[in-house]
Amino acid sequence: MQQTGGASRGLRSDVVAGVVLMLIALLAGWQNRAYPVGTLAEPGPGYMPLMIAGALGVFGLLIALRAGTSPLFNAVDWSEGRRGIVMLIACGVAVLALERIGYRLSMTALLVFMLGVVERKRPVPTLLVAFGFAFLSYYLFASLLKVQLPHGPWGL
């Protein structure tokens, strides 16, 4: 993955990870107050979440304490991150549109954005791939395999 830290100073990635895991455990434990833990002879719905949150907290603490050889958090290469965020936002918009404008239109729009804007492909191949994929996959899954997919305006 990444280089291990030697003499250099700074926040270790395992310290960050361990703290995040402890926070998740604390949050789960806090939210679990709403459910009865019960007794050992009759454990309630809050029993297992509490046990698991406790274990997670301990694991997080140990990971943070043993972080000495893990890479520096700043040294982790996040170079694909920006493209990844754009992709996730584009997918999020497509998901919002999915049940409003239907599968075919939302997937066409997503593909046009990904190919035309993110990958900077020429317009003709972009449109051909986008429309071709959206309509062919709809035909394959919805028409042939009878998978229910959302429709939009004009029956699309």
Partner: protein, 507 residues
């Protein structure tokens, strides 16, 4: 159904050789080969995509189709690994090392042939083992009560933590995250709805499909999209596929060992097919009289891991069919496919549904033959697919992920979960955490909770019940040994097993 194993198998063939079953087995193998070849679209995403389409089929056809996709992907994954150094799916990572080195030396054909032959031999041998072991295990499992199931599930988690090769603490932490996710939804024993925050869809719990497609499929796309275009692809002719006599001789041992190791690892809950290929590669390198050849195109480095991952894929069906316990996300989705049809998985499945079990076993023999044909003479045809630039391919895979996750329960919430898990998986992989235990924890969570609470209720609140029954205590003892083995390198500053088997400079 009475009768010996062979009489049952013949009955299975009478089911598997029905034209409709054969056609779906063939379709599953073709789709599996394709999804195995495409980076980001592994067997899980492929199976998830097809899951809704199986709801209208009979359960035998449904499971035959999905199993074809699973082991087809194991075969297909090797093609991209060998020709392009791109593992189509995670189990093929080890094949990349020597497979691609062989391609650079002009030996792509024999590498592909040995991978396909090894997969075929391992696949067939492991079906034989499955055929004998599953019914025996199922009758043994009738003695299992809640404490035994608790022991088995915890042992599975510790085996995964120990075998995964990375930090045991990190693996256990990820499994705990998965177990916590599994707590979301209605509690089966009390009817309380937990952690659903008034989102109706969350009351049913978080499904394995959105989590697994996000953690494995989407995070892979987030990591690989935008990387430089891979080099031109070789397309070996039929004649170039024939391995030399020496290559065949060198492959016999690794194929045999890989088959055995893969099957044994496969029956234990965990990401068996991935771990088995790592272990097999390490063992072959350690056993070789010329370990320096590894990484430079050693045929053993292709034969062992490819056999192991196929064998593990079949081994994973043993607990799934005999105990009703999924060993990973893929078998969990397959169990869901048969449960939709009102069939309860568990020890009684084999006796109550002989057509399903034996038809499925027989279909795997047929599937292995189909895959050998697809992956040797027709490999050139599949390679055409790899000529599609990745910049066109990954947006389409992204759409497939959305389509597959949405269509399982027609829920947009599931797609949001997938997107969240994709981002989470990306961050985890960047920071050295393995996402597979999350999926396993999520699957095992409801079973573990039920068995722990039932055990405690049975014993009137005494944890002693886990240490009074012979089967349960054996499993807890095995888990304890694994914890101690995992602690050993921490206490004595020893090398961990991955370093010992020589993987430290390869992965």
């Amino acid at each position: 159904m009475d009768g010996g194993v062979f009489a049952n198998l013949m009955h299975g063939f009478s089911v598997a050789l029905q034209p409709s079953v054969l056609a779906y087995a063939f379709a599953g193998c073709v789709i599996g080969t394709l999804v195995g070849m495409l980076p980001g679209l592994g067997p899980l995403a492929g199976i998830s995509l097809l899951l809704p389409a199986t709801f209208g089929l009979n359960p035998i056809i449904a499971i035959v189709l999905l199993a074809g996709v699973y082991y087809g992907a194991m075969y297909g994954g090797s093609t991209t690994s060998i020709l392009m150094r791109i593992p189509g799916e995670a189990a093929s990572v080890m094949t990349c090392i020597d497979g691609y080195a062989m391609t650079q030396r002009g030996r792509a054909g024999p590498a592909l042939a040995i991978a396909a032959i090894g997969s075929f031999v391992a696949g067939t041998l492991s079906v034989v083992a499955l055929m004998f072991l599953a019914p025996t295990l199922a009758s043994f499992a009738l003695r299992f009560g809640p404490p035994e199931y608790t022991g088995l599930l915890l042992m599975g988690l510790f085996v995964l933590a120990y075998m995964s090769g990375g930090s045991m603490l990190k693996t256990l932490a990820m499994a705990a995250v998965g177990l916590l996710l599994g707590m979301i939804g209605i509690d089966a024993m009390s009817g309380y709805t937990r952690f659903s925050y008034d989102v109706i869809e969350l009351a049913d719990g978080i499904g394995i499909v959105p989590v697994a497609v996000g953690l494995f499929g989407l995070s892979e796309i987030l990591l690989t999209a935008g990387q430089p275009t891979p080099p031109a692809i070789q397309r070996p002719t039929l004649r170039q596929l024939i391995p030399s006599l020496e290559e065949i001789k060198l492959s016999v041992g690794p194929i045999s060992r890989g088959s055995l190791i893969g099957f044994l690892i496969g029956i234990i809950p965990g990401s068996a097919h991935i771990i088995s290929s790592f272990v097999s590669y390490g063992i072959e390198r350690r056993m070789s009289t010329h370990p320096e050849r590894f990484g430079k195109g050693a045929i053993e480095g292709v034969a062992g891991p490819e056999s192991a991952n196929n064998s593990a894929a079949t081994g994973a069906f043993v607990p799934m069919l005999a105990l009703g316990i999924p060993t990973g996300p893929i078998t969990a989705v397959m169990l869901a496919a048969i449960m939709v049809h009102g069939i309860s998985p568990g020890p009684m499945l084999i006796t109550q549904q002989p057509d399903l079990f034996w038809g499925f076993v027989a279909s795997m023999y047929v599937g292995n033959v189909v895959l050998l044909i697809l992956n040797l003479p027709l490999v050139g045809l599949f390679v055409y697919l790899l000529r599609i630039p990745y910049s066109y391919l990954y947006p389409a895979i992204l759409c497939f992920c959305i389509l597959g996750v949405y269509s399982v329960s027609n829920s947009v919430v599931d797609v949001w979960i997938m997107l969240g898990m994709g981002a989470f998986g990306y961050v985890l992989r960047k920071t050295g955490f393995e996402p597979a235990p999350i999926a396993l924890g999520l699957i095992l969570s409801p079973m573990l909770e039920l068995s722990v609470r039932q055990s405690l209720a049975m014993s009137g609140g005494s944890y002693g019940i886990f240490f009074e029954r012979p089967i349960a205590i054996t499993m807890f003892a095995a888990a304890g040994v694994l914890i101690l083995l995992g602690l050993k390198p921490l206490l004595f500053k020893r090398k961990d097993w991955r370093e010992k088997v020589g993987l430290e400079d390869q992965v």
